[in-house]
Amino acid sequence: MSNLVDEWSAPATQRDGRRPGTRGRDGQESRMLARRSRAQTRVRWELLRNLIRKDLKVKYKGSTLGFAWSLANPLLLLAVYTLVFQVIMSAGVPRFGVYLMSGLLIWNAFSASVSSASGSVVFNANLVKKVRFPLPVLPLSAVGFALVHFVLQLIVLFVVVAALGYSFVGLQLFLLLPAFAIAMIFTVGLSMLVSGLNVRYRDTEHLLEVALLAWFWLNPIVYPVGLIHKLLREWTWIYFLNPMATVVATFQRAIYKGPSVNPATGQGILADPGYLFYLEHLAIAGVISLGLLWLGIHVFRRMQADFAEDL
């Protein structure tokens, strides 16, 4: 288990191991008891896995196609957007469907994680009030649930893109790794923050829903990032202070690959044709995300001791 996970242990009042060293005689036994009591207050991967599996089971129970539905959803979007924006409206981006999907999937994963995490503690009120268990697993399993969908949808996207005959294989795919890592840090951080706050301040959930709708348009998902360059010029860096904008742009660079400029109109599609731009901006986004993660964990730990009372 990583140190990060250990950080999410319960508040001091729930800790065991009182007066270390005063029970030398049963030292071994007390260590065993401490371990067993820790299992109830620390986030364990196994528990997280079980919770995610439960959510998946509950969601797709009784449906014949089950999981296929969550894969059909992005496929349908891909078809519709390709039709609407490329054939009917002409958005000025070749292979618009692929462009859209390469940014949309990671945004959807982020958005679904955060909005379901925000209500996760309140939704499980009965559990929180009656059973002692590591509470951070609630928002974390919401993130995990969205993550499972994201990974499968991404695989489907690759398959479809390959089937359409577009090339996406290349060195630029390695950009996915840091972009994905930073997206996860940012998502987990924000999920912890809103799920913790929402228990006492129930407005959080609703505020977040509205904010996510607006936030969506602050990312170059539907429109090409060249529009922002044109609009903000040397102030474009402000736009990229939003870590998700950087993540989305990097995903597009990695999956959509190019062309970075519309050959017909001269309009910029990708943020940059190279690599350095993305690495630099990912570094900034990484710092912001780590800050948010720290804040999220801190706030969650502060609030969690009062969850049972606030619910």
């Binding site: 319960a10 508040p11 009042t13 729930q14 800790r15 065991d16 191991g17 009182r18 029970r23 049963d26 007390s30 008891l33 401490a34 067993r36 009591s37 299992a39 109830q40 207050t41 196994e46 528990l47 079980n50 919770l51 439960k54 089971k57 509950v58 129970k61 499980n124 009965n126 559990l127 929180v128 009030k129 009656k130 059973v131 002692r132 268990f133 006492r200 301040y201 129930r202 407005d203 959080t204 505020l207 001791a305 009062d306 049972a308 009372e309």
Partner: protein, 427 residues
């Protein structure tokens, strides 16, 4: 518990001519101390739990930013100054009237509620049966729920695999374990919940009044399981309204009243106290003196209040009857005592009483002195019987007849009382 405590600073309050009330220092322990020699697994030190009234608390973002500190309007202390140590292997009953803080204490010990004050530490794996089947998901099968619930309680998959069959057997659900839990009857649901909770191999079992559910056969089974836990040396703390259950199963009882612990000790004494506090003994008349809130513990005889005790007196001597009472903090503010000196055949020979308004008392030892300036010409041995009442209501709290005797060596031979008489004879 030593009752005859000589006061460090005898503050004598003259209540009337011959009654002196001597309150003891206030630090007299009034809560029994059950000695703990085994390793402590549950420890609470100075635990208090305050609930902030919901509408007084900042619940919107605006309030969060506009007003930093929370207001303290309708705060309510559900627990105050709870100190308790529970050693490994003890079975402890937690009792008290509704709203006395039992469930709150259990939740604080279970690590679900954070204490506002003080510290709690519990060592080992806790299984809290606060509600059976809490966390079951109706859409999932019994099997999935067992795995999920046990996982929440800290078990690894391997551990659950090992216990699974025994859980299903205990719940008596082998044929339904792969059905969705929403199709279970409430009895089946509860059985599965209990089965999981007791099979997670807990070091500490916290049980909140959950045994009241289910049919009688299953209740018996649950109790048998808890009994088996006792035998295995696990620590059990359970909340129940069934004092009979506490008497039969517990080594120790904690009695809560209005958030404070008023008793910690032997179940027989604690349940007696609680029955009295709950009023279920009132129909039987006054409470036996051992369980009274103001308990007459001893009587001594001397010439002067606080003087050297003696048992033989002569007519004309000064006699002081000193009655020591152990007063708990739940005693009324003023006590009214009436005391008979009993002669042969329990015959009340004379009465001594406090003024009708009673005497003030505080928790601790209280000594009430009745002084007779000059004993009359009596012959014989006398005992003392004291009745203690609440001076405000007149309700008798308890009575006690002491075995101690004092003698008066009157010159009268035969009979009790020497009186003047004349004698004559007529045809």
């Amino acid at each position: 518990m030593s009752a005859q405590q000589s006061p460090a600073e005898p503050a004598v309050i003259e209540a009337s001519g011959n009654i002196a009330v001597t309150p003891a220092p206030p630090d007299t322990p009034s809560v029994g101390d059950a000695g703990v020699s085994t390793p402590v697994v549950i420890q609470a030190t100075g635990v208090g739990k305050k609930f902030v009234s919901y509408h007084r608390r900042a619940t919107s973002l605006k309030e969060l930013f506009v007003r930093r500190g929370r207001t303290h309007g309708d705060d309510f202390w559900a627990l105050r100054d709870i100190d308790v140590e529970i050693g490994r292997g003890q079975t402890v009953g937690l009792a008290g009237a509704n709203g006395s803080g039992k469930s709150t204490l259990l939740k604080v010990l279970a690590g679900i509620l954070r204490p506002t004050q003080g510290d709690v530490s519990v060592t080992g794996r806790i299984a809290s049966l606060l509600e059976l089947g809490a966390g079951f998901n109706g859409e999932l099968t019994g099997r999935d729920n067992v795995y999920l619930n046990a996982s929440l309680l800290g078990l690894s998959r391997r551990e659950i695999d090992r216990m699974f069959d025994s859980i299903v057997d205990f719940a008596e659900l082998p044929h339904k374990i792969d059905d969705e839990v929403k199709h279970y009857s409430s009895g089946q649901y509860v059985r599965l919940g209990f089965a999981v909770a007791v099979h997670v191999d807990p070091d500490v079992l916290l049980v909140d009044e959950v045994l009241a559910v289910g049919d009688e056969a299953f209740q018996k089974k649950c109790l048998a399981k808890i009994d088996a836990f006792r035998a295995e040396g696990r620590t059990i703390l359970f909340v129940t309204h069934s004092l009979d259950l506490i008497e039969s199963m517990c080594d120790r009882i904690l009695v809560l009243e209005s958030g404070s612990m008023i008793f910690d000790g032997a179940p027989a004494v604690g349940t007696r106290l609680l029955r009295q506090r709950l009023g279920s003994l009132s129909s039987d008349g006054p409470v036996p003196h051992e369980f009274a809130v103001a308990r007459p513990v001893s009587v001594t005889f001397s010439r002067d209040p606080g003087g050297p005790p003696q048992v033989q007196f002569n007519p004309g001597d000064r006699l002081t009857v000193s009655i020591a009472l152990d007063v708990t903090e739940h005693a009324p503010e003023r006590l009214y005592l009436h005391t008979y000196a009993l002669g042969p055949h329990e015959l009340p020979v004379w009465l001594m009483e406090t003024p009708p308004g009673g005497v003030p008392c505080a928790a601790g030892t209280l000594t009430v002195d009745f002084t007779v300036p000059a004993l009359p010409e009596l012959l014989g041995a006398f005992a003392i019987s004291v009745h203690v009442s609440d001076a405000a209501t007149g309700a008798e709290l308890t009575r006690r007849r002491f075995e101690d005797l004092f003698g008066i060596n009157g010159s009268q031979a035969g009979g009790l009382l020497k009186i003047d008489y004349e004698t004559g004879a007529r045809p």
